[in-house]
Amino acid sequence: MANPATPLGSSPGANEPTVHHAVAGHAHGAGGHAQAHHPKLQHHFYSMEQQLEASTLGMWVFLVTEVMFFGGLFMAYIVYRTMYPDAWVGGSHHLNVYLGGLNTAVLICSSLTMVLAVRAAQVGSRNGQIVNLILTILLGTVFLVVKYFEYASKFEHHLVPGPHFDPTLPTAQQLFFSLYFVMTGIHAAHMVVGIVLMAIILVMAWKGQFGPDYYNPVEISGLYWHFVDIVWIFLFPLLYLLGFHGGPGA
């Protein structure tokens, strides 16, 4: 490392604290300071680049804990699926492949609008951020509405584990549906958190708080949103597509 002050390894030359133009409303850098600094630069960081790198790294460390959190559920899925393969195929038959596929597409669209919102912040487009964040929130809501109708149909058809579970079905299928509800339920909870997060980011973007120099909150909220998308990318084939071999609607 050429410069010990930047342990996160920024490219050489990016280390000098740049003199940033002060954001409107701040009197920072108007003189008095020997070294003007960006008003969004926290004191414990050397440069805006280092601050962004630290935020990104910190968010990834959190996301790794999320990987482990969902990993435990996937582990349970693998164990019970190897023990009761038939119950898994049978249970998967009761899930609606088209609604699951629709939701996969909805989440992929929302990931596109999310990445475009981050890009809008990077190029300093306030309108771009607002439009794409609203679209992301709307698509996330569509996902949850579709999920609601799926859950409602499971309750109607007595597919919820417990005393009211359809007695004509193998008992082991309750294990499949337990994992289905826990995994998709926790995923949906993450979606709700993501939507709230996006609403907060939307307000901040509305106030014009982000621009090419500083967009860390949009960036790391985007990482969270994409992570939740990735979880669904695995849940969809593992839960919905097992019982599809008999053809659609089987």
Binding site: V79, Q122, F244
Partner: protein, 100 residues
């Protein structure tokens, strides 16, 4: 000014189209029976999609080496969980251990 890499709209739309394409493929493939290959094929497509999201949408490609190591290590530990976990569960019936 920030030195962060800014991806082009064209790149993001291409990745988006690829993700939708792989979603259609995974549904189409599920309509065919490849025997024991069913799950590996479905997982292969899912891993490809997830990699596209991580590398391009999450921008890990342009992150610092330290962040890349953390990301790769995170998924590596997930495979340790699955690997060691299944070593236990798969081998239990071989030994006739009660409690399975």
């Amino acid at each position: 000014m920030s030195t962060a890499h800014i991806g082009t709209v064209r790149l993001y739309v291409t990745v988006f189209a690829a993700l939708l394409f792989f979603t259609l493929i995974t549904v189409w493939v599920a309509g065919h029976d490849f025997g024991w290959l069913n799950t590996p094929v479905a997982l292969g497509i899912a891993v490809t999609k997830a990699s596209l999201v991580v590398i391009f949408f999450m921008g890990v490609r342009y992150n610092t080496p330290l962040t890349k190591v953390v990301v790769i290590a995170g998924f590596f530990w997930l495979f340790i969980l699955f690997g060691l976990g299944m070593m236990d569960y798969v081998s239990r019936p071989w030994l006739g251990v009660p409690g399975r």
